[in-house]
């Protein structure tokens, strides 16, 4: 398993190593200047966070209705990754905001709903860890709420007046900004797939260990 982990990380890391050089070569944004370059890691992390919330929600639906343990392991892995990538989003965003808006945090719809999404998945992990037997199903129901929150977070900048850039900025990027941005997205997605696969396999292995203990107790 460790070889598998190493191979996937080795695949993703060159992209992460190259990305800062491409980002450095990208043009500056006219109103925000240098600080706008946080965008190249902040947005891909947010995209991966949204994808992971959907993976967790869909796997939780499969677990709730079909009772498949593999779906539960996938949901747990995806839930953990929502928290990891969400933390990146919630830290890099205020660093950008401090310079661009002159404030670390605004309780505006995008920021507040993003924080709420992150907190739902932190609660998901806490319920799984400390909820006792049967808490997987309760956590799976929480993951559905987390997944349902994602579209609201995404469209919040278009519906409500907010300081946050609108969703259209990604699709209207000029050529010089587009390359580094999509390369960063590719790096994040590749790393996400690698981490998801590894974290899911840990869940499978842990279940295998528990089964082995149960068999030994039975003998």
């Amino acid at each position: 398993m460790k070889r598998y982990l190493l191979a996937l990380i080795v695949l993703a890391m060159p992209l992460f190593a190259v990305a800062p050089f491409l980002v450095d070569g990208a043009p500056y944004e006219s109103t925000m200047g240098l600080v706008q370059k946080i965008f190249y890691f902040h947005v891909p992390a947010a995209i991966v966070m949204f994808v992971s919330a959907f993976v967790c929600g869909i796997a939780s639906v499969v677990f709730l209705f079909k009772g498949r343990a593999s779906a539960d392991h996938l949901a747990e892995a995806a839930g953990e990754l929502v928290v990891v990538f969400g933390l990146i989003v919630l830290v890099t965003g205020p660093l950008w905001a401090r310079k661009a808006w002159n404030t670390w945090w605004e309780w505006d719809p995008r920021l507040t709903s993003s924080l709420l999404l992150w907190m739902i998945f932190v609660a998901y992990l806490l319920v799984r860890k400390y909820g006792g037997p049967g808490s997987e199903k309760l956590a799976a129901a929480m993951a559905l709420f987390g997944m349902a929150n994602v579209p609201f977070v995404y469209v919040s900048v278009n519906f409500w007046r907010t300081l946050h850039p609108e969703t259209s900025v990604v699709m209207t990027l000029v050529a010089g900004m587009r390359g580094p941005f999509w390369l960063s997205v590719a790096a994040f997605v590749l790393l996400y797939v690698a981490l998801l696969a590894i974290r899911t396999s840990i869940g499978h292995a842990r279940a295998e260990v528990e089964q082995a203990y149960l068999r030994m107790e039975g003998d």
Partner: protein, 119 residues
């Protein structure tokens, strides 16, 4: 009120009015000029300047070089901190996965050994 006091007050008012008269006349519009705002006219429409959107909220407009403005708050530390945090967070998570993989593999190997010994 006695007649004397009333006369004194009237004289005081007359003096004050005489002193302030020229100034008041200068401030007040003459009767011949029309009033600036007729009372029947609707209240003026609230005309505010178009609200300024925060910078970079719409499309990102690229420029080749940074504007030569002295920045009160330099951007470089924020950009470096953001990138450093991304790297540190991901490396810490990969390290935690590595440890968990090692622990579960060791546990599985121990269990297999125990099962073989029993067999």
């Amino acid at each position: 009120m006695t007649r004397g006091t009333g006369a004194a007050l009237a004289a005081l008012v007359a003096v004050v009015l005489a002193a302030a008269g020229p100034q008041l006349a200068a401030q007040q519009p003459t009767l011949s000029t029309p009033p600036a705002q007729p009372q029947t006219a609707p209240p003026p429409a609230i005309t505010t300047a178009p609200q300024q959107a925060p910078p970079g909220q719409g499309d990102f407009v690229p420029v080749k070089n940074l504007p030569a403005v002295q920045e009160q708050l330099p951007a470089a530390p924020f950009v470096l901190a953001a990138y450093a945090f991304v790297w540190v967070a991901l490396l810490v998570y990969v390290w935690s996965l590595w440890r968990r993989v090692g622990a579960v593999q060791k546990e599985l190997a121990d269990l297999r050994r125990q099962a073989e010994r029993k067999a």
